[in-house]
């Protein structure tokens, strides 16, 4: 039996005239979670405060965006402890690193991931705070306003429950997405491309071209540092000449956009010159399956317009009427100096990309080693929480799989307190030998002590442990 029903709340009020009208009616063009966390702030006058998405709310609601037939608004469900454990080693434990707001923001991405994979929507936009792209694998505190990497939590969920493998992340926040880079450094199946203001001039001070990924995963990390003052024209030059062709070659099953908005010309924390229109046209070209809001702190002059334009672009609607009141198209032209820089960047990275397979084969011996392991030392600075962390990563050399990872981490908090931990990660696709070695490595570390905490991420079994060496207590991280 087929019945139509009329619902006061949901009846599609306007007949849509755009191209979206001819799409399959049951699925919306865009699923949207708007979660402004109006009751959460890092501190009362911090850029990451309650007020951040207030004017965006006003603009989106006043425009009637939620009434558009192609747009379906979703209520986020909170992510579970296990969803977080699939990505992060939280020290000392997950509850001390996440607040309700973090669970809801990450959960928003999961809600949309489900809707996408179940065919309810064609694209999803998690317009949420707090952001996440500076959160790394090991989390001692908040850095760059982030504790939990929303995109990584979503991607690992999609891999776990929908069997996705090849995923591309394009990070268009003005800051280098160093958290996402860290999480996928050794993963050849996740292509991470970050466009950002040059690290010599902005937090977090990383994201140079030479940072290209770990052994066997070279060029699965691509950094495109941009000179301060780069305009829409520069952005689109890079997009057309480099980013889109690379995505075309990589053939991902899913494209994720870390949709920061602080490249905007009015952003108070950075020095770039993108406009709402530039961002929307980028989105139109990139066609991300799922976009997740990251930074953007020009809360009045940029966010209402950028978010509206992005939403319309994702829904396949006309955004040409959206412009900042002080928008001047002639300020979006690229000058000669920056153009030359970008031309060099395109040719340099394009060349590396073309040679990626050869590079991966030939440079494998250039990586630092110790016995049967590749070794990497890192120093990580947590600006928000003032923590200094030193890490040593050991990736096992394995002929049959990409190996397992052991991380030794020592964090010194601002007041001098020190926390040490050891974390073992068995990635998806690890061979039985590596799985066994990693598990005995975890047990050994627990028995040996010498650190405060030992953690295990067993991705093939979706099984997560946390061991407190001081009390000898172990717990499984579950829903």
């Amino acid at each position: 039996m087929i019945f139509g029903s009329r619902d006061q709340d949901t009846a599609q009020p306007y007949k849509h005239k755009g191209p979206a009208a001819i799409e399959h009616e049951a699925s919306a063009s865009l699923g949207l979670v708007f979660f402004p966390a109006f009751d959460w702030a890092i501190s009362f006058n911090h850029p990451e405060r309650e007020e951040r998405l207030l004017y965006t709310r006003d603009q989106l609601f006043e425009e009637g965006v939620m009434d558009l037939p192609g747009i379906r608004e979703y209520k986020p469900r909170p992510a579970t402890i296990k969803d977080i454990a699939r990505v992060h080693f939280c020290v000392p434990d997950i509850p001390s690193q996440v607040t309700g707001a973090h669970l809801v923001a990450a959960g928003a991405a999961l809600t949309l991931a489900d809707a996408l994979r179940q065919g309810e929507i064609r694209r999803g936009f998690a317009l949420v705070r707090p952001p996440g792209h500076h959160a790394m694998r090991v989390v001692h505190g908040n850095r760059g306003f982030c504790n939990i990497n929303n995109e990584a939590v979503m991607i690992e969920y999609l891999r776990q429950f929908y069997g996705l493998k090849r995923i591309a992340i394009v990070d268009t926040d003005v800051h280098h997405g160093d958290g996402t880079q860290d999480i996928y450094w050794y993963d050849p199946d996740v292509l991470f491309i970050s466009l950002h203001q040059d690290g010599r001039t902005l937090f977090p001070g990383s994201g140079f071209v030479q940072e290209m990924g770990g052994p066997g995963a070279l060029l699965s990390t691509i950094n495109l540092p941009l000179p301060p003052g780069t305009t829409d024209e520069g952005l689109h030059y890079l997009l057309d000449k480099l980013v889109l062709p690379i995505l075309h070659d990589f053939k991902p099953e899913l494209i994720v956009n870390s949709a920061g908005q602080d490249n905007h010309y009015s952003d108070p924390l950075a020095n770039m010159r993108f406009s709402a229109r530039g961002y929307a046209e980028l989105t139109e070209k990139l066609k991300p399956d799922l976009a997740v809001l990251e930074g953007g702190y020009a809360i009045e002059t940029a966010l209402p317009y950028v978010n509206l334009a992005l939403t319309l672009a994702l829904a396949g609607l006309d955004f040409s009427g959206v412009r900042e009141p002080d928008y001047q198209p002639d300020r979006m032209v690229l000058d000669t100096g920056r153009r030359r820089y970008l031309e060099d960047l395109v040719s340099q990275v394009g060349d590396l990309w073309a040679r990626r397979e050869k590079l991966n084969r030939e440079t494998i011996n250039n990586f630092q080693r110790s016995g049967d392991y590749f070794i990497r030392q890192k120093h990580i600075y947590y600006d928000t929480d003032y923590i200094r962390e030193d890490q040593e990563e050991k990736l096992s050399l394995c002929p049959d799989c990409s190996g397992y990872l052991a991380i030794n981490s020592r964090a010194v908090h601002g007041h001098g307190r020190e926390v040490n931990c050891c974390a073992i990660l068995i990635p998806l696709g690890a061979c039985p030998v590596c799985q066994r070695l990693a598990l005995s490595g975890y047990r050994e570390a627990c028995d040996k002590g010498g650190v405060d905490f030992v953690y295990l991420q067993d991705r093939p079994r979706d099984y997560y442990l946390s061991h407190d060496c001081r009390s000898g207590r172990e717990c499984q991280l579950e829903d």
């Binding site: 849509h16 966390a37 009434d67 209520k75 309700g100």
Partner: protein, 574 residues
């Protein structure tokens, strides 16, 4: 002894009930004559008064009846507004938009081709694009030449700053002195520009129709020498004095479904939660009562496919009722509705209907049972089934559809978006678990439906006139949403566009101040609307939000929004 009367003019029937305190002393049901609605009202009125007199003579002789001064209040719910819009029998209205930068208004479809002007206000109420006066004057000339008598002028964010709307309205009035011109900020002040425009448009479109109706009602009551207070029922289930309602004619849409929901509310215990299923002839209306409060449509009612800002219950209308036609699809599948051809076969109609199936199974006891069997037999024959088997298939199909719609409505409520952490993290919203059946065919449908869902059910004895009952004991509703911007130094009220200044020395204006101001403004409004002190005493705080405006690490002001008001409810539970 105080008497209260409720009158519900529906599409098929006009119902009336008379209450003496908590007791229904008389009720009437007469067919609605769509060409002469007033006559139907008169008939229902006379019938109920007659019945009451009869009871009076038989029971409590010597007391004065309801026709005298003891009839305190008559509340009227009517389809006049809904019908005028559905049938397009309203006057032409010019729609003038000032959208400013943002979404192209062409993305939406409008009830009339809008005229778009330059201009623009932003979310804080700052003027960001000036008006072009020459353009406005040209428009005035054009409208004059077209002989336009009604013009809606609506700007994006006009509720945050009405200056451009007012300027345009003023210039148009200069050229069109006799025209009725309405500004969006005075009609619909919540965020949502397209809905504000549509609300303003329809408010103008039906103002004359509603004025005429109200005038006639007054005449009818005068002719019967009824001196009671007369009120209309709004879509949000609140009463409003007839005189005062002339300012807000559009709020009288969908008062029928609101009346039914209130009737159910009155017949349930205080604070109960339930799904209300009102089975009509052509459609069944679903609504939700949660903890004793009817659920409102979060953004406003939808009229004829156009979304508005009119506050109304979240009513879901399923095209399935007692008179829905039963027919067979090619594959032998039983299909019900959505069309209605006339009454049930057992009531002398021409085709088999849901009602015939119910009568055939003994689930309803109306009309001619033999004819009901006959209707089922004709269809059953084609499927090689017995008439009872076919009737069972019909009832099963009806229940499956209704169950799906009920669960979908509950899910919609459970999944209503939330914008604060605590709202998302609070416990799961549980389904009500109770189904209230109203309308003639409810008795035949609801018990089996509730059993299939594992819910309890309740079919009140007054189920047939619950709508008129709801109207009779509805409470007034009145709400104010006040927004204050202490940095820019102004406050505004969404419901009527009133605004005021917050002087420089009051920049510490805080949430308590906003609430106090809102209560004060609401009281004044309530007195204008003729509310009693007792009713005003029920005003509560509905919601509030408060944001510090921080610029360059310093707090430079606050953005506050508070809602206070009287929520929909009934005078008492029966």
């Amino acid at each position: 002894m105080a008497f209260l009367m409720g009158l519900d003019v529906g599409g098929t029937f006009t119902d009336a009930v008379l209450l003496k305190e908590r007791e229904v002393v008389a009720s009437a049901k007469v067919p609605t004559d769509q060409d002469d609605v007033l006559n139907s009202i008169l008939e229902a009125l006379d019938q109920v008064v007659r019945e009451e007199k009869k009871n009076l003579i038989m029971g409590q002789a010597g007391r004065e009846g309801c026709g005298g001064p003891e009839l305190q209040r008559i509340v009227l719910s009517t389809t006049v507004v809904t019908n005028a819009i559905a049938q397009g029998t309203y006057e032409p209205v010019g729609l003038v938009l000032i959208p400013g930068p943002g979404m192209d208004p062409g993305i939406f479809s409008w009830p009339v081709q809008p005229i778009v002007l330059k201009g623009g206000i932003n979310y804080r109420g700052r003027e960001i694009t000036p008006l072009d006066q020459g353009e406005v004057l040209e428009l005035a000339q054009l409208l004059y030449e077209r002989g336009c008598q009604k013009v809606a002028v609506v700007g994006k964010f006009s509720q945050r700053n009405p200056i451009q709307e007012e300027l345009v309205a003023g210039l148009l009035a200069g050229r069109l002195p006799d025209a009725e011109i309405e500004c969006g900020h005075r009609v619909a002040g919540r965020l949502n520009f397209p809905r504000r425009a549509v609300t303003t448009y329809f408010t103008l479109a039906i103002s004359q129709t509603y004025r005429q109706f109200a005038g006639q009602v007054k005449k009818v009551l005068a002719a019967r020498q009824l001196e009671a207070r007369v009120a209309s029922l709004k879509a949000d289930g609140g009463t409003i004095p007839l005189e005062y309602s002339l300012h807000y004619p559009l709020e009288m849409v969908f008062s029928g479904p609101a009346a039914s929901t209130l009737g159910a509310l009155a017949l349930l215990p205080r604070d109960a939660s339930a799904v209300v299923l009102d089975v009509g002839g052509t459609t069944s209306d679903l609504s939700l009562i949660l903890g004793g409060k009817p659920l409102l449509a979060s953004r406003g009612a939808v009229l004829n496919g156009y979304a508005t800002q009119v506050r109304g219950f979240a009513v879901r209308s399923v095209p399935l009722g007692g008179d829905s036609v039963v027919h067979l699809e090619a594959g032998g599948q039983v299909v019900i509705g959505p069309q209605r051809v006339g009454p049930a076969f057992c009531l002398g109609g021409a085709v088999a209907t849901t009602t015939d199936a119910l009568v055939c199974l003994g689930l309803a006891n109306i009309g001619n049972r033999h004819r009901a069997m006959e209707a089922m037999t004709a269809l059953a024959f084609q499927l090689d089934k017995s008439p009872v088997e076919l009737a069972q298939a019909v009832v099963h199909a009806v229940n499956t559809t209704l169950q799906g719609e009920i669960m979908s409505m509950v899910r919609r409520w459970q999944e209503e978006p939330a914008y604060k952490v605590w709202e998302v993290l609070q416990g799961r919203k549980e389904p009500p678990g109770l189904l209230v059946g109203l309308g003639g065919a409810a008795g035949g449908i609801v018990p089996a439906l509730a059993a299939a869902m594992g819910w309890q059910y309740f079919i009140p004895a007054q189920a047939g006139v619950a709508n008129a009952l709801g109207a009779a004991i509805a409470r007034p509703t009145l709400a104010i949403s006040l927004r204050a911007d202490t940095q820019l130094g102004y406050w505004e009220v969404a419901e009527d566009g009133s605004r005021g200044e917050i002087p420089e020395k009051r920049r510490d204006f805080a949430l308590e101040d906003a609430l106090a101001l809102a209560h004060d403004l609401l009281q004044r409004r309530a007195r204008r609307a003729g509310l009693s002190d007792g009713e005003i005493g029920l005003v509560e705080d509905l919601y509030h939000e408060s944001f510090n405006v921080v610029r360059g690490w310093e707090t430079v002001g606050r953005l506050l929004e508070v809602g206070v008001g009287l929520e929909p409810g009934v005078l008492w539970h029966l």
